[in-house]
């Protein structure tokens, strides 16, 4: 129909009915969120990161509220690859939504086994690679902050599976553009950014850190400015699609990311306030396009008008 507004986008070879996904770690294995929303309405569902073997996670306290956000030190608690395949993936088949598995490990071998096993599963349409994990072979520095290790990881993963690979970048680096370029050059089909920002909370009365793990990851509205800047810079530096994530609470927030160059967005922490957040945001994006007489979401991607300002500015 001539008047129909299109929210469809293609990312890493997958056709998405709309550009909104759930962020890994904020909707469990999909089934928990399904109690509140019809998963078929989402662009894609990204599952909680899985490792080869189950991980128990960190001792509590694992979370603490901050101004406009929260810190989490969940510790990657997950049921492991086997249980994901046996118990959760079959339950996701009924939903007409692309399912993206998020994979994590501490060695190349672990990542490769996950890619090979999950990549060949019919329910999984793409793999998002969590590179914020410590690389035990390199003394614990994370894959995502070491261009050499990241490049090696992505190249190896490309040999393990034909399933599209999305590399989820960590903001806790000096130059995220460099890591994004490395991911692209090594064969990633897309990048998603940002993962959480490292932070800490202290209890002045007890003189102790609030989190048992001391350091955690900051998410929520507090990180949106950081995420927007990184999405903008990375989008201008790579040709592969950029998926924007970080503090998106409303449709307007999502639009900001599209303008900065994101092809799609992920909604995460917002689900903790309202399980219906992603559906509400999809509806809001549609309304925005309607109000501005825009027929196709793709026409606003990268549409930020800087008019020369901002480039080369120093503070």
């Amino acid at each position: 129909m001539a008047d129909e507004i299109s929210l469809s986008v293609e990312v890493a070879g997958i056709a998405l009915k709309n550009p909104v996904m759930t962020a890994s770690g904020t909707c469990g294995y999909g089934v928990e969120l399904a109690a509140f929303v019809d998963l078929s309405r989402l662009g894609a569902v990204v599952l909680k990161g899985v490792s080869v073997h189950p991980m128990p996670g960190n001792p509590p306290p694992r979370i603490v509220e901050t101004a406009g956000g929260m810190l989490n030190a969940i510790g990657l608690q997950n049921v492991g690859m086997r249980t994901l395949i046996d118990e959760y993936l079959p339950r996701l088949e009924q939903y007409r939504v692309p399912v993206i598995a998020n994979i994590l490990g501490t060695t190349l071998e672990e990542y490769c086994l996950l890619a090979e096993t999950l990549g060949s599963h019919p329910v999984i349409k793409a793999l998002e690679v969590n590179v914020s994990c410590p690389n035990v072979k390199k003394g614990g520095i994370s894959f995502g902050s070491d261009p050499e290790a990241l490049g090696e990881l992505v190249r190896h993963l490309r040999t393990q599976t034909d399933t599209p690979l999305i590399v989820k970048l960590t903001p806790n680096v000096t130059d995220i553009v460099r890591l994004a370029r490395t991911a692209e050059e090594s064969g990633a089909h897309a990048v998603s950014l940002i993962n959480t920002v490292l932070g800490m909370a202290v209890d002045a009365k007890s003189r102790r850190p609030v989190l048992a793990h001391i350091v955690g990851g900051l998410s929520g509205p507090a990180v949106k400015p950081i995420a927007l800047r990184m999405v903008w810079e990375v989008s201008r530096a790579v040709s592969i699609p950029v998926i924007g994530v970080g503090g998106i609470m409303t449709a307007e927030d999502a639009i900001e990311f599209f303008l900065c160059g994101a092809r799609a967005v992920q909604v995460g922490t917002a689900h903790f306030l309202d399980p219906g957040a992603s559906v509400r945001i999809i509806e809001g994006i549609y309304e925005y396009l309607q109000e501005h007489s825009i027929r196709d979401i793709t026409s606003i991607i990268g549409g930020l008008e800087t008019g020369g300002a901002g480039e080369g500015q120093r503070f």
Binding site: F36, P56, P59, P60, P61, V64, E65, N72, F272, L273
Partner: protein, 281 residues
């Protein structure tokens, strides 16, 4: 289970720092089970940012829902200033509530302070089913025994305890419970009892000790700092005794989903003590 807006009907103090908030939601009212809770937030609040968990204090036949809460931090302070007509976001009903398995001839409910909020609906249910119900209710002072008169008129056997002795037994409710059990006829009475407990950590640990000594099965409503409240973030976990993962480490369960009600055997008290977070409730 759903996420919806609720229009506040009333939000008034019932004691210093204790408030009763009510709204209408027939779905919620109909689905709620004793021991379940709601996640409540002001829709556009960014500081405080996260919702807060509140026990379902009461549900009424006309679709009314009530929460009883204590002002303890930034979240509850903000909530206490919400006025009639304002909107809240409410997610629920959530969690595994109290289990009233067939065979409870005598419900022994033990509440400490704001813990009364978690057990109130259970008390109504027990009375409605004709189950003999005793309430051991403790607080620092008489003014914090919320609705004591009303509870007494409900048909409950109420045993009150206050630390300062202004009302009832002077001392801890766990000691009052212990004395009451000792005064009764052991063999005839205790095997038909089932206890339901909610209060501060030290109170519940002490009551657990009493129940273990008397061989009375108990269910405890735990609390934890929460973000989502419905099981997706894994933030609110407690350690489970007995389970060990493949590396010999602990296993964790979610207070919001596998709980908040846990039976006595499911709680590792040292683990619960350690995880009591600094939530700015």
């Amino acid at each position: 289970m759903k996420s919806a807006f609720a229009t506040v009907l009333s939000n008034a103090p019932v004691a210093p720092n204790y408030f009763l908030l009510s709204f209408v939601d027939p779905d919620l009212s109909g689905q709620a089970r004793p021991g379940q809770f709601l996640m409540v937030s002001l829709p556009w609040s960014r500081d405080p940012f996260l919702p807060r968990p509140f026990a379902l204090f009461d549900v009424l036949e006309d679709g009314g829902v009530q929460i009883l809460y204590k002002r303890v931090g930034r979240g509850t302070s903000l909530l206490s200033r919400v006025r009639q007509g304002e909107e809240l976001r409410v997610v629920g009903p959530l969690g595994r509530g109290f289990g009233l398995l067939g065979g409870t001839d005598h419900a022994v409910v033990v509440a400490g302070g704001i813990g009364i909020a978690s057990v109130h609906l259970l008390l109504k249910l027990c009375l409605g089913r004709g189950i003999r119900s005793s309430l051991f209710y403790g607080a620092r002072t008489g003014a914090e025994l919320i609705g004591l008169g009303r509870l007494e008129s409900m048909g409950l056997e109420v045993h009150a305890a206050t630390e300062d002795g202004t009302v009832g037994y002077k001392g801890l409710v766990s000691d009052l419970l212990s004395s009451a059990l000792a005064a009764g006829d052991r063999r005839a009475e205790t095997h038909k009892m089932r206890a339901f407990v909610c209060g501060s950590f030290p109170m519940m640990e002490a009551v657990a000790g009493v129940l273990e000594r008397w061989g009375i099965p108990g269910q405890f409503s735990l609390e934890s700092v929460m973000a989502c409240g419905y099981g997706v973030c894994q933030g609110c976990v407690v350690e489970t005794p007995g389970h060990r993962d493949r590396d010999g480490g602990p296993e964790y369960v979610r207070v919001c989903t596998e709980g908040p009600v846990f039976s006595l055997e499911e709680i590792r008290w040292s683990g619960y003590r350690a995880c009591r977070g600094r939530g700015d409730g």
